[in-house]
Amino acid sequence: MKIIGKVSATEKIPTTIDEFSFWTSKDRILSPFDVVKVVHLDSSTTFGVVEEISHITDTASYLSSFVSNDFGDVSSQMNTHRIGMNYVRARVVGNTKNIYTPVLDGSTVSLADAAEVAQALGLSEIRNKLPCGYIDMYEYEGNEKVTLPVHFNSKFIIGPEGAHLNISGISGLASKTSYAMFLLRSIQDKFMNLSEKDEELKDESVAFVVLNVKGRDLLAIDETNLDLNDKDREIYKMLGMEPTPFRNVKYFYPYSDIGSNTYASRELINSQIANKKASYYKYVYEYDKDSLDMLFANIDDPNQTMDSICTFIQSEQGNFGKIRSWHDFEEEINEYCKAGSNRAEKEISVASWRKFKRICQRALSNKMFAPRVDLANHENRLEEAISGIKKNEIQVIDIAKLDENMQGFVFGDVIRAIYNLKLGQVEDVDESEIPSKIIIFIDELNKYASSDVPKSSPILRQLIDITERGRSLGIILFSAEQFKSAIHDRIKGNCSTHAYGRTNAIEISKNDYRFVPNVYKNMMTRLNQGEYIIQNPVFRSMLNIKFPKPVYKQFK
């Protein structure tokens, strides 16, 4: 037990049930999030997590420092350095005998060993362990350094006790996608290798739907990352995970006759198709007209005229019941847009139809909107593909090259398809074959669920529904965005787990971070790649964790 200081309780800053301060020598290196232990009453031990570290001397003022250097002589040297020390503010996270009387002045403070750190942070009694990273503590202490794997209780991240994960952080530096994929890999690993210890999980199964929104990031997640070194493999071993890429992966690329709908190379797609891992997806009018409203997710529609037109079409009013192709659909819309058209309903003006047409026309020019799918050419409809999702399968849907409106359309369609599947509204699917949990991962959540998105947005409505009801239905949302503060309150409020990556000073000044101690907030602006501050109901405080490099191929 290495004693590093003693508790100090003063008139102005007493120790409390929640906090205490202790002094250390000025050369003692500690970091925020380090765990310390204090000898307390009845031979118990109180654990604290370091929040703030301050250095003080007996200098009365800056002027005193100036005077002490011969009135501003920068070359001045001193035989005695000013007496100084560090004082550390720590938050109480537990006591071995549940004694929460404030720790007493003069009590010794020492570093904890790995078992004690786990006990302090509530990591030692976690059931249904799901690796979520590791902690490095006392990094400058040599032999005293503690490296500890950190686990979520799977029931608190993919339900039913708690569900949904939100990851925030600025692009590039936060590695949001990498962390989300690390967790997905961890979940897949867990559910593909359930042991006797996982009795509580034996009736559960998972599947994943991942939307690729950037370049080729997630288009080779079943291929090995050749950059993975021995150190990374050691970390995976410590976490109890295989350092192998994802298994049971299926890729879905937006159909295009000239290959302009995806960043994936023809070779990559062809090889995946040859290995029966990939297919193209299309939208066919007859089956997919019900998703038309998704095209208007980001369109301001205060009078709900677009909504009315969509309903008009989806309920097959007018001649829309007789239409079977996007081409005919466009022609029919044209009819409604003509001046003095007698087809137009009185409630919906020609101007509204014209607005509808403008938005539709651009989308429908995409080759994804096709008359039919050709199974021989490895084409299918996303809804059908999702309906057939198998346990432990990962479906990667590429939307990276689509424009923003189309991305929204596909994403909206995907979550609606998953919703329908889990609600049992899809015919010819054996319920026992449906995975009990389907985890959706979407990056750039702010595009669909920011507080600026129109309240009438069907995607927003769907997302809110998922975060509020998905836990019981088995639909779990893993989402990521640059700025958490921009996300709709009801969505982030329903996430049980939050991961904070590197962010900027403007973001941490927002209300969402009000509950975070100042030092942790400032740390958020300095986090390294591969480092996160996480919050989960199982942990007694926020944790600063690291995670290893991805196990799948990285495109550079």
Binding site: S68, D70, M78, T80
Partner: protein
């Protein structure tokens, strides 16, 4: 924690039988006086009977106190700069402090005498590196001072030791885990301020502890030509009637590597051959020292004869930055130990070395914390702060008696 401690001690006391009494009640009972339960207060909070200066000397610098014969100030900045970066000469820093309290008035016969209490602290700190400052020795004592009239049977030491032992075993000091070190007495004589006499007695006790620590460090061979000790204030100790180290002349050999540095001195008492030297001290240029002068202590004479000291002044702070022209000047004293020194004065090289090292001790300063910052040396300031931090709070001490 204190209440826990009190409860524990109280339980022990009750289990032993005798009733807990207040220390002052025991004194009243044992001395047969009549206590007036007067208002208790700390003298240091009111007008201090202290002298404003650390030295109580009057001398005429008629004899050179160093080997070099010169009358002009000497610039030690070049030597100080040369020594920068080398291990400093001064390793030990000694200071003493006391707080005195009026705790009661007690009547013996027709007269009323004050009972004065004191907390005495003496510490010696050791500088190991610029960042490591350790306590080498520390003494803390609680003292009571009564009139000698209180000894009704003339038993003297035996009588007061009896009272002290009873207080330490049966008073509430015991329950608080405190103990009285000594009971001193002041003489009963007409036309004197008893309180001042009592305070002086307590002050002497502090000086005795200071001397004791110097003797101890010297005996442990900690002081040598590379390891000097700075004692805060004058080292011209009066020869006392009582005390373990009452006679400076007997222990002066232990002061070979000890330098007394006074922050406050009375420049009017430094009289030259014909005129007062105060102006010369006031006009001393920065980082210059005056020539050292030797004088025979008028009140340190003892069994081994007269005690001689060599003293000089050094300006460590520019006068334009200070309030008075004497701020920024420190008075340095060193006891003449050998016969050679007595005849030729201290070696000027040693004086220069001491002075240059003192100049290098000028930073950091206690500016903003201590009004005497311009004359303070930081390691001494730290030692003083340490002693004061160990004192019991005035309220606690006064109510414990």
């Amino acid at each position: 924690m204190l209440s826990d401690m009190m409860l524990k001690f109280t339980q022990i006391r009750f289990s032993r039988g005798p009733m807990i009494m207040r220390a002052l009640k025991i004194i009243e009972t044992e001395t047969g006086g009549k206590s007036y339960s007067s208002h208790k207060y700390c003298y240091d909070e009111y007008a201090s009977p202290d002298q404003p200066y650390e030295d109580d000397q009057s001398y005429a610098p008629k004899q050179y106190g160093e080997t070099e014969r010169r009358d002009m100030p000497k610039n030690l900045k070049p030597l100080a700069d040369k020594l920068c970066g080398r291990p400093p000469l001064f390793r030990y820093f000694l200071d003493g402090s006391r707080r005195t309290y009026k705790v009661d008035d007690i009547a013996y016969g027709e007269r009323i005498y004050p009972i004065v209490a004191g907390q005495v602290g003496v510490a010696c700190c050791e500088r190991l590196t610029p960042d490591r400052f350790n306590v080498y020795a520390v003494e803390n004592r609680l003292i009571l001072c009564l009139s000698e009239v209180s000894d009704k049977d003339g038993l003297r030491k035996k009588f007061f030791d009896g009272i002290k032992n009873r207080i330490n075993k049966e008073s509430n000091l015991y329950t608080l885990g405190l103990s009285l070190s000594k009971i001193l007495t002041y003489r009963d004589e007409p036309d004197v301020n008893y309180e001042h006499k009592a305070i002086a007695k307590i002050h002497d006790e502090m000086l005795d502890s200071e001397k004791g620590i110097v003797v101890r460090i010297s005996n442990e061979n900690k002081l040598n030509e590379d390891s000097y000790l700075i004692k805060d204030g004058s080292i011209e100790y009066k020869t006392l009637k009582a005390g373990s180290y009452k006679d400076l002349s007997v222990i002066k050999n232990n002061y070979r590597r000890v330098v007394g540095v006074s922050k406050r001195f009375d420049p009017e008492k430094c009289v030259g051959k014909k005129k007062n030297n105060a102006a010369k001290i006031a006009e001393l240029p920065l980082y210059h020292r005056t020539p050292a002068f030797m004088f025979e202590s008028s009140h340190s004479k003892g069994e081994d004869g007269a005690v001689y000291l060599s003293a000089w002044y050094v300006r460590i702070r520019e006068s334009r930055h200070t309030i008075s022209p004497f701020d920024g000047v420190i008075k340095v004293e060193k006891i003449i130990v050998t016969d050679q020194e007595r005849h030729t004065g201290l070696d000027s090289e040693e004086i220069d070395l001491i002075t240059a090292n003192l100049i290098n001790e000028r930073n950091p300063v206690a500016y903003g914390k201590d009004t005497r910052w311009a004359n303070h040396l930081y390691p001494v300031y730290l030692t003083e702060s340490y002693i004061k931090s160990r004192f019991l709070s005035d309220n606690f001490f006064l109510n414990a008696l």
